[in-house]
């Protein structure tokens, strides 16, 4: 009796408790519920433009942590309990898993089919952005000569300057952040540097924390000197002027935030309209302005095309969610990181 009660309580309370912030856009009578991991400040221009163009709609926006959003979406899919009309998350492996569980509705339009195959799966999941994982550093405290341009240089820096950087290097807490986990997991697949990097983090007493915006704030305040694997778009949108961005030269992970319409969404066609709006030239222009689509102009970024590693919306992402893989990976991670210091 007791476990069932507890489960019921969690089911009722979890969605309410887990969302970080909510806001409403537009004043149309039909309310579209969008759950996302994206910071409101970044997504706001897109939704404002959307509700402006679609006067009959208003958007109820809920900002979630990626793990909580995944659990809530799974719950909503299995129990039909207060599903969102659209889910938009940066933890694309979790989104892929939701689609794999047949939790998503199919939708096809000219705009969705124009997406490259790596940004579309089953016509049920679409990658709407292109955001690099970057390193951020405090330009006041890190000397230009010390700025690492690749993971190898970061390793060398931590080795050569142990005292300066000890406790002042931050990255996502992969247990708290689905996106952090995804980045780290892809790092582990991408290169053998990852083992050495973990070792380096361990030696430098690196801090695993949450989340993008907070990490960047702490870099700006000088609490962290270098942050590894943060979302480029967040750095770009940060107000602080003393935060520098490094695009690692060895390779850059590119993430495409995934959009999905739950199979049991009440306003599926409206959610599809939002999808088409974001993919439309106007929507893409706004998304680009907000830094959610990284310019692919090589002369502007000085980036080698071969250095780009897109995380494709394909079934191999399911490996990241495997129980054994997760357990082993987190164990490895915990070995390396100490608990974040209490502020």
């Amino acid at each position: 009796m007791k476990p069932i009660l507890t489960a019921a309580l969690i089911a009722l309370s979890a969605p309410l408790a887990a969302q970080e912030a909510t806001t409403n856009f537009g004043s149309g009578p039909t309310v579209l519920t969008l759950r996302s991991t994206t910071d409101i400040a970044i997504i706001a221009p897109v939704l404002e433009a959307f509700t402006e163009d679609n006067a009959d709609l208003s958007v109820h926006y809920e900002q979630w942590g990626s793990n909580a959003l995944y659990e809530a979406s799974k719950e909503a899919c299995l129990t039909d309990n207060s599903p969102a009309d659209a889910v938009f998350s940066s933890a694309v492996h979790q989104m892929l898993d939701l689609v794999n569980m047949a939790c998503a509705a199919r939708y096809v339009s000219d705009l969705t089919t124009a997406l490259p195959p790596s940004r579309r799966w089953r016509d049920e999941l679409w990658g709407l952005t292109e955001e690099p994982a970057v390193m951020a550093y405090n330009t006041d405290l890190v000397d230009v000569s010390e700025v690492p341009h690749s993971r190898f240089e970061l390793l060398d820096l931590m080795r050569q300057n142990p005292t300066k950087y000890r406790g002042h290097i931050a990255t996502y807490d992969i247990e708290a952040s689905g996106l952090g986990y995804l980045y780290a997991f892809n790092d582990s697949l991408e290169a053998t540097t990852f083992g050495a990097l973990l070792e380096g983090f361990a030696r430098a007493d690196a801090v695993a924390t949450c989340c993008s915006a907070e990490i960047i704030d702490d870099v700006a305040s000088g609490r962290f000197l270098i942050a590894y694997n943060v979302l480029g778009s967040y750095v770009q949108n940060a107000t602080a002027t003393n935060v520098g961005v490094i695009l690692p030269e060895d390779y850059i992970l590119f993430l495409s935030r995934a959009y999905m319409i739950p199979a049991n969404a009440t306003h599926a066609s409206e959610a599809a309209r939002l999808l088409d709006f974001i993919l439309s030239p106007k929507g893409q222009r706004i998304v680009k302005q907000m830094g959610l689509v990284f310019p692919d102009d090589q002369s502007e970024t000085g980036l080698l095309p071969s250095a780009r590693r897109f995380i494709p919306l394909r079934p191999p992402l399911l490996v990241a969610l495997d129980r054994h893989a997760t357990e082993r990976f987190i164990a490895q991670w915990r070995d390396a990181f100490a608990a974040p210091p209490i502020p």
Binding site: P117, R122, R314, P315, P316
Partner: protein
């Protein structure tokens, strides 16, 4: 005759084309089913291999760590499965007691013991899917037992591949089918062209033109029809000829005796002397009687010529013909005092002919011999090698050589304006002989003069 009646039944072209289309349709259905089943099988095999490969990859990655099987899930296995890019995937690794070690609880486990890899169908979230079950045995110090790996995948890519393969197979078949229909149409039309030519030829023909059509430079099947038609037209031609001859001969031959009868009748009416009138009447009667005989013979000849063309041949024993004639004793009317001797053997002498025609011919031979020959008259049948001979012989010397030659040259056309009937009688015999592939032979013998009807002898077994 000029206008062609509209064909009520379907044309040959339509019939043949219906047949061809039916065959092609049935063939098409068969090929479609085969292609579909082949495509399905090929797709199934291709993707089953991927499924097995992925499951084996996963099974290979299992290690025993601290007494527990732990999977180091290989990305390569999922890359393999992603060959079907749009298909959902489920997998499960289960321990010896079937508890889930990692993966999806929903992945269905195959019933019963699974010793080797096993493939089976099922559903995944309501979508048709294919599963494989692979087992791996461990006999480590701290773990012993079977770990089962289940991998499943929806069938979207399979179905697409099967569909594509079927389509790939069917497009050339469809094109070939269309080409076949076209070729068949032209072939059938060109094959039927001779028939159209015949029809055209006939419709443009003069109704009295019964000359044969060319049956050599046509296809064999049409040749058969043409040959039969030509024979039919020949028969028609002969009968028309015979009719024409009968009419003209009759007109010719009747003119003289009828004129003579009229003259004699006139002289009777003008004769005052009763005694001479009596003689004239007797003469008139004789004339009239002989005219009757002439008419009989002419009709008989017409009948014989008609029969030889229209009545099918049968096996006839020439002895029966001779015997019937002697038995009927018709000759006694003609020459009451003459005895006819029959000379026949004990073996049948068979020919293929029409018995009525033969007996008419023989009757004429016999009456000629009785009328113009010298008794005794003998009639006989004999076989000489492959020749069956029916002969009539009298003791006279026969006609003069000049008459004989003239008779010979004019057998086919009766001697016109001759009052006697010997010419007509012989022409009947000649006609019969020719109709049954034989001939008439006349010769002087030790007994006198003999006229023989010679026909090819038929062995009974051949009949």
């Amino acid at each position: 005759m000029g206008s062609l009646a509209l064909p009520r039944a379907k044309s040959l072209l339509a019939r043949v084309m219906t047949g061809v289309l039916t065959i092609l349709f049935l063939g098409g259905v068969l090929v479609t089913l085969t292609a579909w089943s082949n495509g399905r099988q090929a797709a199934r095999q291709a993707y089953d291999r991927i499924l097995i490969g992925a499951a084996n990859d996963i099974a290979e990655s299992i290690r025993i760590i601290d007494g527990q099987p732990v999977t180091d899930l290989p990305v390569s296995a999922f890359e393999l499965l992603a060959q079907a890019p749009d298909d959902r995937i489920t997998y499960a690794v289960r321990g010896p007691d079937l508890t889930l070690l990692t993966g999806h609880e929903t992945a269905p486990l195959r019933e019963g013991r699974a010793d080797a890899e096993q493939l089976y169908d099922g559903t995944m979230n309501g979508e048709d899917a294919r599963f494989v079950d692979v087992t791996r045995r461990f006999s480590e110090r701290d773990f012993s037992g079977v770990v089962r790996v289940t991998v499943g995948q929806t069938r979207r890519a399979r179905d697409q591949m099967a569909f594509d393969l079927t389509l790939d197979a069917l497009i050339p078949v469809g094109v070939a089918g269309a080409a076949l229909v076209l070729v068949a149409f032209f072939i059938v039309r060109s094959a039927l062209r001779p028939l159209e030519a015949i029809a055209g030829g006939f419709s443009q023909r003069d109704p009295y033109d019964l000359t044969p059509l060319d049956d050599q430079n046509v296809p064999a099947e049409v040749g058969v029809i043409l040959h039969a038609m030509n024979r039919f037209m020949q028969r028609l031609d002969r009968q028309i000829d015979a009719m024409r001859n009968l009419i003209s001969d009759t007109a010719h031959q009747l003119r003289t005796p009828v004129a003579a009868i009229r003259a004699q009748a006139e002289s009777v009416t003008e004769e005052d002397d009763p005694e001479r009138a009596q003689v004239a009447i007797a003469r008139l009667l004789k004339r009239t009687r002989s005219l009757g005989v002439l008419l009989d013979q002419m009709l008989s000849r017409a009948l014989v010529i008609h029969r030889t063309d229209s009545v099918p041949r049968a096996m006839v024993d020439l002895r029966d013909v001779a015997l019937d004639i002697v038995d009927s004793r018709d000759h006694e009317l003609l020459a009451p005092n003459v005895e006819v001797e029959l000379v026949i053997g004990s073996d049948p002498v068979l020919v293929s002919a029409d018995e009525f025609s033969l007996s008419e011919a023989v009757k004429n031979l016999l009456s000629n011999a009785l009328r113009y020959g010298t008794p005794p008259v003998r009639i006989g049948v004999k076989q000489d090698g492959d020749r069956a001979i029916l002969w009539v012989e009298d003791a006279g010397k026969g006609p003069d050589d000049a008459v004989l030659a003239r008779l010979g040259s004019r057998f086919e056309r009766t001697a016109s304006s001759r009052e006697d009937s010997a010419g007509i009688g012989l022409s009947i015999v000649t006609a019969v002989a020719q109709a049954f592939d034989g001939k008439v032979e006349m010769q002087k013998t030790e007994h006198g003069f003999s006229v023989a009807l010679v026909l090819p002898h038929v062995v009974e077994d051949q009949a």
